[in-house]
């Protein structure tokens, strides 16, 4: 198969699955999971073949483009030396896309498979698998597109599916609220993104990624324009990748089914922002100020996410905040000028975080609770496979050698260290907190004494398979994907992405090792007796606890902004609309016509003789007038 056919397969297979699920008649809806899994499997296989064919990396990037729309074939104004505005659509294939598309399709496949297990009691399964397939379609489209506008279209589509899937259990008020919140917050970011695209197109005349190189942009624009463009487009990233201050939607997004959180809200969609940062790095890297802003926002996000994760009791929320902080780290890496490190961490993170979410899903599905103390009490540690997978994921997250997070996180730390020692400190503190909350979760699960009877979950073989297969596969992949970045394997991924050789920095390794030991020790001290620790945690009314409990008051700030200010303004407009436009202008016009009509309609009382008299009076008057005129 040619490249183009493979790309089409990757792009269209999930869409076909979605359509098939949507149009299949009611009595055939049973096969929805099968269709979903098959669609994602096809896409994953095609992307693997594509990767295999291009492992050498020769002759890339390859573009398949098609003309779409000629916006203008004249210059739009004198100041801009562009004489042809044309939009194209197409596929772009380069190492970055190939890596990302493999990641997206494989994780999609595993998550679909796991969903067969997780959703198997849910009556609205077909809708779920349909949306999930549609998400895969939108996400592959986002990754494969070769220009910013096309990316933006799919960007909105993934936002839509995210909304639909967060609110999948829409009967729950909290779920529908969370979905709304995610949608609105994302719109805020996308507003900036869209403005940036429009301005860039008007000034630059093209939106192709291949044309957005730092040299071309710097040769054309002043630094301030580049800064504005970079920050506007970065706003989209802030929304989608849950960066401060638009991060507030991601923890609430955990209201969706857990596999959805694994796929959309940890591995792929939220990583799309980071992917875009690397994809259009030419634009962001062209301005020093933009990079500084990106670095700062990333650092704040990383710190906030990690510190909030330390007091959560809900296993999914721990992972949600952890995702926020890891995304912050990736964004920091881009801000520090190393998109390669960022993409490397994105890949490792995608695998181990989706693994973590799936284990969380396994626990939640088994014990019907999200609270880690509850899970521990009901015998969480007796679930061997999820527990092992959880350990592996957490070790990766902490960056313990030789798990995958070790390599990628060290690379980020190194990149940040070269840039700025202050941000290096922030990144190190984030890592420390990461270790702390990871081990806290682990120790609570391990050291609690199970009280209740563990009920076995009998089920057909395919359900067990659907649960175990993704966990094992993701665990294996996440073990290897990190090693691919080491000198041992010739730093394959890094070369592939066009980065430099990673060198083992002994000082850095020692620092991270010390951090890990310190974090683990602190967690051990506090949580060697989880029951007592829980009582202490609940009793703690300290300043820090208070701030963390209230999520740094960011949600309260939003609430204040929305309810006090924006609702007031909206109320004013509402009043104006109701009273002035509707009341005064529209209704009064109608009323006056009506009143006039009522007066005139008095003449028409239906009595024949009245009409006759009137006619006669008028007739006589006319006759008199005629006579007088002669």
């Amino acid at each position: 198969m040619t490249d183009l056919n493979l790309l089409w397969t990757i792009q269209v297979a999930p869409l076909l699955a979605f359509l098939l699920i949507q149009i299949s008649p009611k009595n055939l809806k049973k096969i929805a999971p099968l269709v979903g899994v098959a669609g994602s499997l096809l896409a994953a296989a095609a992307s693997l073949v594509l990767l295999w064919q291009h492992l050498g990396g020769h002759g890339m990037p390859i573009e398949f483009v098609h003309k779409w729309l000629v916006v203008s074939d004249r210059p739009l104004w004198d100041a801009v030396p562009v004489d042809r505005y044309e939009l194209i659509v197409g596929f772009l294939m380069d190492p970055l896309n190939l890596l990302m598309i493999n990641l997206v399709t494989t994780i999609s496949f595993f998550v679909q498979l796991f969903s067969v297990y997780y959703m198997h009691e849910d009556p609205s399964r077909p809708r779920y698998f349909g949306f999930l397939s549609f998400f895969s379609f939108a996400m592959t489209g986002l990754v494969l597109s070769n220009n910013l506008l096309q990316t933006f279209l799919f960007w909105e589509l993934v936002g839509l599916t995210s909304y639909l899937l967060i609110g999948f259990w829409y009967e729950k008020t909290s779920a529908s609220k969370a979905a709304k919140k995610a949608f609105v917050v994302n719109r805020l970011g996308d507003l900036g993104f869209y403005l940036g695209i429009i301005i860039l197109f008007l000034l630059f005349g093209t939106l192709n990624f291949t044309a957005l190189t730092t040299e071309a942009l710097q040769g054309r624009f002043s630094t301030s324009i580049l800064t504005v463009l970079g920050i506007l487009i970065f706003m989209g990233v802030m929304g989608k990748s849950a960066q401060f201050p638009l991060h507030a939607w991601l923890p609430d997004a955990m209201e969706g089914p857990t596999p959805v959180s694994a796929l959309i809200h940890s591995a792929t969609m939220v990583a799309a922002g980071v992917f875009l940062l690397s994809r259009a790095y030419g634009l962001f890297g062209a301005s020093f100020t933009t990079l500084a802003v990106i670095l700062t926002i990333g650092a704040i996000t990383a710190l906030i996410g990690a510190s909030l994760a330390t007091i959560q009791k809900d296993i999914k929320r721990i992972m949600a905040y952890s995702t926020i902080s890891q995304l912050g780290l990736m964004v920091m890496a881009v801000g520090a000028g190393s998109p390669v490190a960022s993409m490397f961490h994105l890949s490792t993170h995608a695998y181990f975080k989706s693994l973590l979410f799936l284990t969380a899903g396994a626990f939640i599905h088994h014990f019907h609770t999200n609270d880690i103390w509850e899970i521990a009490k009901k015998g969480g540690k007796k679930e061997t496979l999820p527990l092992l997978a959880l350990c592996l994921g957490l070790f990766s997250l902490c960056g313990i050698f030789p798990f995958s997070g070790f390599f990628s996180k060290d690379m980020i730390l190194e990149a940040v260290k070269e840039k700025n020692i202050f941000f290096y400190g922030a990144a190190l503190f984030t890592s420390f907190l990461t270790v702390y909350y990871s081990f806290r979760l682990l120790f609570v699960l391990l050291f609690s004494k199970p009280t209740g009877e563990v009920h076995a979950h009998p089920g057909p073989f395919f359900l067990k398979y659907a649960m175990a297969k993704p966990l094992i596969s993701l665990a294996v992949i996440s073990l290897f994907v990190g090693a691919l970045g080491t000198p041992l394997f010739g730093s394959r991924i890094l070369h592939w992405l066009g980065g430099h050789e990673s060198h083992m920095n002994l000082g850095l390794i020692a620092t991270t090792a010390a951090l890990i030991i310190a974090g683990a020790a602190l967690a051990f001290m506090q949580f060697k007796n989880p029951e007592a620790a829980l009582i202490k945690l609940d009793a703690d009314k300290g300043f820090v606890k208070n701030i963390l409990e209230n999520r740094f008051y960011i949600d309260d700030l939003y609430e204040f902004l929305v309810e006090k200010i924006s609702h007031k303004i909206a109320g004013l407009f509402d009043w104006f609309d109701r009273k002035v436009i509707n009341g005064l202008m529209v209704n009064q016009t109608a009323y006056s016509v009506m009143r006039l009509g009522r007066v005139i309609s008095r003449l028409q009382d239906g009595l024949l003789q009245d009409y006759l008299s009137l006619a006669m009076i008028v007739g006589v008057a006319i006759i008199f007038w005629l006579i007088k005129a002669t």
Partner: protein
């Protein structure tokens, strides 16, 4: 020369009678609420017109047949009109149990 009698064989007296009839007809048409009475008033108006025709025919024209032909036509027309009018009134009576014209105002806007 004796004083002219009140009703002499002159055009004026014919016209006087016909205008009296016309005025009565108009009054009946406008003032009565009974549909049959209204119809009768209409007949009066038609008859006054007929008298006018005959009077002018008698005093002003050489050929005496034109006006009489007209009057015959008017009488035929009046008969037809009464026929339709009465049947309408009958229908209205069946529907409303009344021939009061105030009952028949459903078509007003």
């Amino acid at each position: 020369m004796t004083a002219a009698p009140l009703f002499s064989q002159s055009l004026q007296s014919y016209l006087l009678v016909s205008s009296l009839l016309f005025a009565m007809g108009i009054f009946g048409l406008l003032a009565r609420r009974n549909l049959v009475a209204i119809l009768i008033s209409l007949e009066l108006i038609l008859n006054s017109a007929s008298i006018n025709f005959l009077a002018f025919n008698k005093f002003c024209l050489v050929d005496k047949t034109v006006g009489q032909v007209f009057v015959v036509f008017i009488i035929a027309l009046a008969a037809a009109e009464v026929c339709i009018g009465l049947s309408l009134i009958l229908l209205l009576y069946r529907r409303k149990d009344s021939i009061n014209i105030e009952q028949a105002k459903e078509l007003k806007g």
